[in-house]
């Protein structure tokens, strides 16, 4: 029998690999509790789905880091992130500061989690991805579709060569590098 910590670590490793089973399990173990809390605190079912998804993405990103080890249980982490996301959203929506609805006690319970850092990193990352998406959209065809097929849809160069009509994967690869060079120009022009 494995220890609970071990099980959680393995679950996280599976999540990091993007495995559906692990994702489903984490979803089942946490979604009801978090959405229940959120609805009690003025959120809708749609907010709950949204927020939970965002928290899962934060966890997913964390799990990608090599040196990553969760200092608390997955559930605790997701709950803390969800709460913070929710408070932030409330703050954005109303100009006035929102009282932290149940901040008593939570501080200690979640102590030691650098969720602020995690959330900031998350936001930065999302902004970065959005810039890249915007740059991708400015690319002409076939570059846009080719890069999307490779990076977004995880297609192999073999599949890409076949569906884009290249005679072999090497030709497709050369085209991919050309496309990347074009993308680079747009991407970095946008940043400066």
């Amino acid at each position: 029998m494995q220890s609970p910590i071990n099980i959680e670590q393995q679950l996280l490793a599976a999540l990091a690999a993007g495995e559906r089973e692990a994702t489903e399990q984490i979803y089942r173990q946490n979604f009801t509790i978090i959405s229940g809390w959120l609805i009690k605190n003025g959120g809708s079912a749609a907010d709950a789905a949204d927020l939970f998804q965002e928290a899962m993405v934060v966890l997913f990103s964390k799990s990608q880091e090599e040196e990553f080890r969760l200092s608390c249980k997955i559930g605790t982490y997701l709950f803390a992130i969800s709460k913070h996301l929710w408070y932030k959203r409330l703050q954005r929506q109303s100009k006035e500061p929102v009282p932290l609805l149940d901040n008593t006690g939570d501080g200690e319970e979640e102590g030691g989690i650098a969720y602020e850092d995690d959330l900031n990193a998350h936001q930065e990352r999302e902004a970065h991805y959005e810039q890249l998406d915007a740059a991708l959209d400015q690319l002409g065809e076939p570059c846009r579709s080719l890069l999307k097929a490779y990076y977004h849809h995880d297609k192999s160069m073999q599949e890409i060569a076949a569906s884009f009509g290249y005679t072999n994967p090497d030709n497709a690869k050369t085209q991919k590098y050309k496309c990347l060079a074009r993308l680079r120009k747009i991407f970095y022009a946008g940043i400066d």
Binding site: T23, D133, L180
Partner: protein, 373 residues
Amino acid sequence: MPFDNTNIFELAETYLAGTMPQAEFLAIKERLAVDKEFATEFYAATDLIRTATDSGKHKRFRNMLRDVHRMEQKAATEKKPARKIIFTPEFWRTASIAAGVAILTSTITIWSLKPSINKSESRYNTISREVTGLKLEQAKQERRQKELEMNLDAKPKKSAGPTSDVAKTGTGFALTNNGYFVTAYHVLHDEDGYGDSVYIQNSDGQYFKASLVTFNAETDVAIMKVDRAGFRFGKGDLPYGLTSSKANLGSKIFTLGYPADEVSYSEGYISARNGYDGNKLQYTLELPVGYGESGSPMIDAAGNVLGLLTAVGAQSEERTYAVSSKAIFDLLHKLPDEKTIKLPKASHMSRMSREQQIDKMEAYTFAVKVYKK
């Protein structure tokens, strides 16, 4: 070592993948230290590749999450038993494999319009991708079950979703009683290409195979025909007419569609003369619809088909967009055998109550199911 903008990406890629030969790796390290211009270019390249890779990973993860959420919610709310489905002998001959799957559940079509295509495209795409990925996942699941000893809270693996090929569903409606019908093009085709086969399933649950006749991806209209010889949608002429003239702002409209396996009715009104981004071949409607109703007819009170539903707004899902029937006419005019398709001109339903209209229409409105390996 010479480099240009192209081969620097090849270098960066092999460098990141860790497949670079040791000697080359050291040479690059050395050059990075002394050649500033090269270093700038090289780090820009690795950063770009890393961002693209991570961003793709995130996208796939988000898509999977969305799917997990949908499946779990569906499993939680779904209690009613599956509707009885009658298979024709022909169906068994042609698609006996797909049949078992189709009973399980229908998938959902998410779609938004061209200008906002990029955000929604990935949503729409992945749904079909994830359905196809399930088989693999399940095999993996069983293997890993033993390895990992994860306590699954004793929850049985119920409703894991379609185990095979229903990739997408939409709605279609008849253009002629002998098998021509129209649906939204995006139901049949996405970034990953066409499905392998298309079946319609009528309100009695019967399946019929259909083939694409012509389409216009721009307007999102596809005309198809049921393959079976001697096929008829219903007993008589089509009850509704098809009109290409532009309807008035504020006109009351209704629709029948298949967000799930059961036909569903919805009503609303024309809220803008043009569609998304001023598209003149479209209407904007205030009409609540569900995913899977792409291709549903948009009908006025007198029973004239004004268009077909194509999308919902990304911001407010109450806002629905419909392609004007004119796009259907335009498409048919381009066909060489245009004359063989006699479109219904006049509505036979103008004096009927809404209930009667719906009753008449049901045989001519059906689910469109796209299968993919």
